[in-house]
Symmetry: C2
Subunit: 500 residues, 2 copies
């Protein structure tokens, strides 16, 4: 007789193994000795195989089957875990095992060849592997498909349950028009802010001192986290009480580390405040990318670019920077802090132009899966879109189509989450503003009302509730990009000295 | 049909799991967030259970049985791995499972109560748990015993294969007499060196800069290691290419971190240079404590207290310390560096008095297992021995019998390894001195001949060869404490200004 406890035990084992894999992954990126990679590859392969067995093997299959056929003995949590474990199983379990193994192998090769292509600045080196990946995904999509309208909808759904091409087309069209019009207005009527002070030398210690104190005021708990140095910043949560963040430092670009730490601490805040009742089931309750990103971006953009926040925080940053910014008055600082400029690289984009980078990738992915565009034509399409959307002439593959690792990792349908994160964050903030007086809160120095709102309406649910549901429950409506557009318009017009 | 490969696969899995447990252990002691302990306890319990199953479960048992009954298909490595896996199995497999579980639980409680007893400075809090541990061990000893002469021999053998009470009694008697006579002579005829300069302020960064450059000159490879901060320094090797060390810092005691880093890097050097053919079998080929310690102590004492070494290195340390020691001439430095003084605490003892701390513990352990002394009487025995050997009046339990965690962890028979490490290190050095000109090597700045000797004669064997065999092969004779006594005598007489 299969019981709910059998399911819980099996998922707990998956969670423990995933926690170990997370520790290994964090360690490999933060401080593992250089030569130890080959030993670590063995460990990671062993863990991956164990996780695969636990989450898709015969024992899990028989538990899923038995409990699905008789759900009477499951309580509410049991039903949730069953549903999510089934979904987790379907991702790999629906694919023939040889194909799954071959796909994984292709991904691992593709990442090597992507790196080689970057080294040689030549897309053609990567192209055959990208073709293979896309080929596999086109083969898997019908196996995954339930009632999605188009092939690309199937991929979108894996990262953002309930999201459709139809919805995204409308949302992105609105964003694209809004951003484009605003950028034109800033260029024509605005005064470009002075921002050379952002390049002044601030030591890593001074930057760390300020940024870490600020994120702790926002609620990031260092007893449940830590900060390390990496090339590519990330947050890795082993569990609710161990959400680690990393950052990159540049003595002559303090904005990067300060906002980077705000961003990663936003992810960390989320993980630290999930309801403990989900602890054992984290492995099948991953927090969706979009809602996760909405919280890192809430820290980075909603707070980190907010005038009211910096009115309180700027003097503290000045103090931590020991004189470096003493001659820069607040208005100059804030306008420079917000300066927007088109860039070739997504990860370096400012909040206003960022969604355009995503829309470009979204349109290309849609062309791949719904219009079957030739993979050889992608660089030309990429470059044309950067010209159209950002008025930039992409000089080469490295600056262009080879910049992101995502496709080499088989992640198609993932990019939109980044843009959704921006939009959700603004929609949450607009709702919060109805009951919270941000200016008064920031002035008081006690930011806990913001923390409490986010915890109550978002964080506690972890991955147990779908992002669209969280958004609807918290804000009273489904995704509406107008909040984000309104906020950007208001902020940027002011920073560029345009009276509205 | 069971094959050698079945054994190798099973041991490799044990090695992978042990590697993961080592990573978890390192992380818990270096940087794991404070609140994450309860989650980590779950992970560690899971790993311990998996390791237990792999190393003692039915599958392992059947492999061991099948291959033991027909060794014809095993090559030399296969025979070694079989022997060591069998030994590993016997440690736990010979004990009834419930007893083993109860013992593990007692150990875990005992460590808590040991900490509480320390807090309250009261041995009586710890005593009942110590009694329980000793009771279990007395119950297990007959199960482990093969042909050892006394119960305590059985325990000694687990940490140092081939070591006997008879041998240790003789060795320790010789050491005790030699050290006591030398200490008396230093007190009567010698001039106590001036060492107040050792308390001068040297920043952590200056200390690190010097110590890490020095251990790299001795061969510690930072591409296969790293340095972190901890309260209790240790070396943790995940594998041959990942041997991490830690240290403790005190701005006003640079000798502690410098020699501490020398010590841990000595352990690291060993692990980094084991023959790769043993990689998959590390879990059943642990390096014996004594031989491991001989290499950390070779760095710390043979090199780190050597006059020839410091003649070359002292100017480099002066330079790294940016002026702090510029007024201390070499002779003053070296005499102060060697100063010896009786202390209550083993871990703070200098090389000359250190073995006396071990001999005290050895005699107490022997009294427990071979003479059945009452556990309630241990503090009195402890204090009497500290008075007799070091002329110290132990003021309380915390300074006395509660100082070490070893007994709370069930480690009886382990302490002698520390003293053996000192003795082995000196015996190795005396042999090396026949073919290597230490003075010329240190003067040249290229220390690789020392590295190569240690690698060839010691490190490459890892845990594959018993320590007594390594010692005999490398030095041509079995343990002879006279080398250590001669070296100490020569060094200390000089430092204390006594002409021999």
């Amino acid at each position: 007789m299969t019981t709910q406890q059998d399911l819980f035990d099996s998922v707990k084992e998956q969670t423990l193994l995933s926690e170990i894999a997370a520790l290994s992954g964090w360690d490999a990126l933060t401080g593992m000795p250089k030569d130890a990679g080959h030993f670590r590859a063995d460990v990671d392969a062993y863990l991956a195989q164990k996780i695969f067995t636990v989450s898709t093997g015969e024992q899990r299959q028989s538990i899923l089957k038995a409990l699905s056929s008789d759900t009477s003995q499951l309580d509410e949590l049991g039903q949730l875990v069953l549903k999510k474990a089934q979904k987790d199983y379907d991702m790999t379990g629906k694919i023939p095992e040889q194909d799954f193994i071959a796909f994984e192998k292709t991904l691992s090769q593709a990442q090597d060849y992507w790196a080689q292509a970057r080294e040689a600045n030549d897309y053609k080196i990567f192209q055959p592997y990208l073709e293979k990946i896309i080929g596999y995904l086109k083969q898997f999509i019908p196996l995954w498909q339930t009632n999605e309208a188009t092939p690309y909808d199937v991929l979108l759904n894996q990262y953002e349950p309930g999201l459709t091409v139809a919805k995204l087309d409308a949302v992105f069209a609105q964003v694209k028009t809004g951003v484009t019009e605003l950028r034109q207005r800033l260029a024509k009527e605005g005064t470009t802010p002075e921002d050379s002070f952002l390049k002044r030398r601030v030591t890593k210690e001074q930057q760390r001192q300020y940024a870490m104190s600020a994120v702790q005021r926002l609620g990031y708990n260092l007893n449940k986290g830590r900060l390390d140095d990496t090339i590519h910043p990330f947050m890795e949560a082993l569990n609710r009480d161990d959400a680690r963040i990393t950052t990159r430092w540049d003595d002559h670009n303090f904005q990067m580390a300060v906002l980077g730490i705000f961003h990663e601490a936003g992810h960390g805040l989320f993980e630290q405040n999930v309801d403990p009742k989900y602890d054992d089931f984290r492995s099948v309750l991953p927090i969706s990318m979009s809602i996760h990103e909405s919280q890192s971006l809430f820290n980075e953009v909603m707070v980190g670019r907010s005038k009211a926040f910096w009115e309180t925080e700027y003097p503290q940053m000045q103090q931590a920077f020991e004189g470096v910014l003493d001659d820069v008055d607040f208005e100059t600082f804030y306008a420079g802090w917000l300066k927007t400029q088109a860039s070739f690289t997504r990860t370096e984009a400012d909040p206003l132009t960022y969604p355009l980078h995503i829309i470009i990738r979204y349109e290309i992915e849609k062309a791949i899966f719904n219009d079957n565009i030739d993979v050889a034509d992608l660089p030309a399409l990429w470059n044309a879109k950067y010209k159209e959307y950002l008025d930039l002439d992409t000089p080469d593959d490295l600056t262009g189509i080879l910049q992101d690792i995502h496709w080499a990792g088989g992640s198609f349908g993932y990019f939109p989450s980044y843009a959704l994160g921006h939009l959700y964050a603004a929609q949450f903030q607009a709702t919060m503003a109805k009951s919270l007086d941000f200016e008064a809160i920031f002035q008081s120095g006690d930011y806990s009302p913001i923390f409490e709102w986010r915890k109550e309406h978002i964080w506690q649910y972890g991955g147990a509730v779908d992002p669209q549901v969280i958004l609807k429950q918290a804000t009273g409506e489904s995704l509406n990009p107008q909040y984000w557009l309104d906020l950007q318009t208001k902020q940027y017009l002011k920073a560029y000295g345009i009276d509205d």
